[in-house]
């Protein structure tokens, strides 16, 4: 009797193991981007063709090209992603991954994958999610709400400048946005590898999209895995938009923000306290 029960227990245990192995090999996972459904099986084939060289067969970012690449390819086994619409510490949405893959990562070796069809990219998203068990145990975060951009005013830029001082953005990004703040040289990512803060003066695109909304998202969600934290706990949406307006003035572009700022500076430059240690960041009114 006793040995019978044990046999049953053993067999059912084996059954569980076999099922788990089956699920694993099939990588039964899908992605949903708008009305597209991506499937992991075709995604796997695409991955072997286009992604494996850098991200590796196990998705751990240790592909054969990885030693020659800086910053290193993403390690999908951690399920930690920079460009998200969701709060820090949460999984991105399928659309976030799709957009990141489509856009590529400027100033890194990750290209835009526009040559692949939308279906291809959706399939790849489904496959990428099979590398971490977190995609089975956790749900993606709820995307943050971004209110409509308020009208650009000089007050908005000036308040944004105060926030740049108060939130201590300058400690890494530098008093003028040149990526030369006191902490810039010692920054490391979640694998303890050196990483640079964004240099606003370089004029390069932002890593997670080029629009003002994307910029808003970057500091309200943080770039997980990097030193860039989320400021959502301490920034109101109105203040966040003010910060967006100020950050645009740091870039060498003819944006409406830069034009307004230059015009104001022409007659008010002397009113500004410099940003930095002990700096007020204030000025103006």
């Amino acid at each position: 009797m006793k040995s019978n029960t044990r046999l049953v227990a053993l067999l059912s245990g084996l059954g569980v193991l076999l099922c788990a192995a089956g699920a694993n090999s099939a990588r039964a996972q899908t992605s949903h981007i708008g009305n597209l459904t991506g499937h992991a099986a075709p995604g796997s084939k695409l991955y072997q063709r286009y992604c494996v060289g850098c991200h590796g067969a196990d998705g751990d970012g240790a592909g054969e090209n990885a030693p020659w690449i800086d910053p290193k390819p993403r390690d999908f086994t951690l399920a930690v992603f920079k460009c998200r619409s969701t709060p820090t510490g949460t999984l991105p949405t399928d659309e976030d991954l799709f957009n990141a893959m489509t856009r590529g990562f400027v100033t890194t070796n990750m290209p835009q994958w526009l040559p692949l069809t939308r279906q291809n990219r959706a399939d790849l998203v489904a496959y990428i999610k099979s590398f971490s068990p977190k995609w089975k145990t956790l749900k993606p975060g709820t995307p943050i709400t971004i209110p409509a951009e308020p009208r650009l005013t000089i007050e908005s830029i000036l308040h944004g400048r105060q926030l740049y001082q108060k939130m201590e953005c300058w400690k890494c990004h530098g008093p003028k946005g040149h990526a030369d703040g006191p902490s810039a040289a010692t920054l490391t990512d979640n694998k303890d590898l050196p990483i640079r803060p964004y240099d606003f003066e370089s004029g390069s695109r932002f890593m997670c999209g080029v629009t003002n909304q994307d910029l808003y998202k970057i500091f309200m969600t943080g770039l997980d895995g990097t030193p860039m934290p989320s400021f959502a706990d301490n920034l109101e949406p109105a203040g966040a938009w003010d910060l967006v307006h100020f950050l645009r003035t740091l870039q060498p572009f003819d944006t409406p923000e830069a034009a307004l700022w230059k015009a104001w500076l022409a007659s008010h430059a002397g009113e500004l306290k410099p940003i930095g240690p002990g700096g007020g960041g204030g000025g103006g009114r």
Binding site: T5, G225, T226, P227
Partner: protein, 247 residues
């Protein structure tokens, strides 16, 4: 109230036992509560431990001022008189019983560009409040792998961050703005744990009779385990000796 919680505990133990050994008909009788044992001892080292270095906080003048006259040392190996080791977690890593889930809030402070305490132990889902007591900003970046990794800015005067960890995991925590800031959140499923002070001493009490594995974990020297059997209201001495190397 007390009787009620003991009854609940007994039920949990019995059903847990049943689930684990489905082939055994009739579970072992519940053990009489009250007869609890204790494991206590000391954590020491042999060899030469690394010298802790003074931290240069010049990047953050506020913190230099706060520690004027007594520069802060790194904390990865902190020793006491008699070759004792501080900040060692000692806990029941196997055979745990009689543990209670913790509900009281644990507090982490960022003060003078240090994490206080350096080693923070908590149980899954135990509330954790993180305070910034400094007149400047910190970012809290726990490098979790099983739990979600997050990174949040906490400017001067910001309210505490209320959070928790769901999975047992030893999580290194850092501040990217002040790269010397380093601490640990150790999430353990047992309520039988202790962190050694400068005297290296620890005590795990309230242990029902049974066979336990006791593990001591030090952030640089790793983990050691010993099996201990508690058969009643006795105190079993257990000591751990880590082999220290200077590098």
């Amino acid at each position: 109230m007390r009787t009620h919680s003991i009854a609940v505990l007994a039920t949990v133990l019995i059903t847990g036992g049943l689930a684990r050994s489905a082939s055994i008909v009739g579970a072992a009788p519940p053990r009489p509560p009250g007869a609890a044992g204790t494991i206590s001892g000391k954590v020491t080292y042999t060899g030469t431990p690394p010298k802790m270095k003074p931290i240069d906080m010049a990047k953050e003048p506020n913190c230099v001022t706060q520690h004027a006259g007594a520069p802060v040392l790194t904390e990865n190996v902190v020793t006491g008189p008699g070759n004792t080791l501080r900040w060692v977690l000692v806990y029941i890593s196997a055979g745990d019983q009689g543990s209670t889930p913790a509900t009281e809030t644990v507090r982490l402070d960022q003060k003078g560009c240090q994490y206080i305490p350096h080693v923070l132990v908590l149980q899954p889902n135990q509330p954790l409040d993180i305070y910034n007591d400094d007149p400047h900003s910190h970012n809290i970046h726990p490098l979790a792998k099983l739990n979600p990794e997050w990174n949040r800015s906490q400017p001067a005067g910001a309210p505490p961050i209320h959070t928790k960890w769901e999975q047992p995991e030893f999580i290194p925590v850092k501040c990217n703005v002040h790269p010397w800031m380093h601490g640990w959140h150790l999430v353990v499923t047992t309520s039988h744990y202790a962190v050694t002070g400068e005297d290296g001493a620890f005590t795990l009490s309230g242990l029902p009779a049974g066979k336990y594995t006791v593990t001591a974990w030090q952030e640089q020297f790793g983990a050691q385990s010993q099996d201990v059997t508690i058969s009643g209201s006795e105190t079993k001495p257990v000591n751990f000796v880590f082999k220290a190397t200077p590098y």
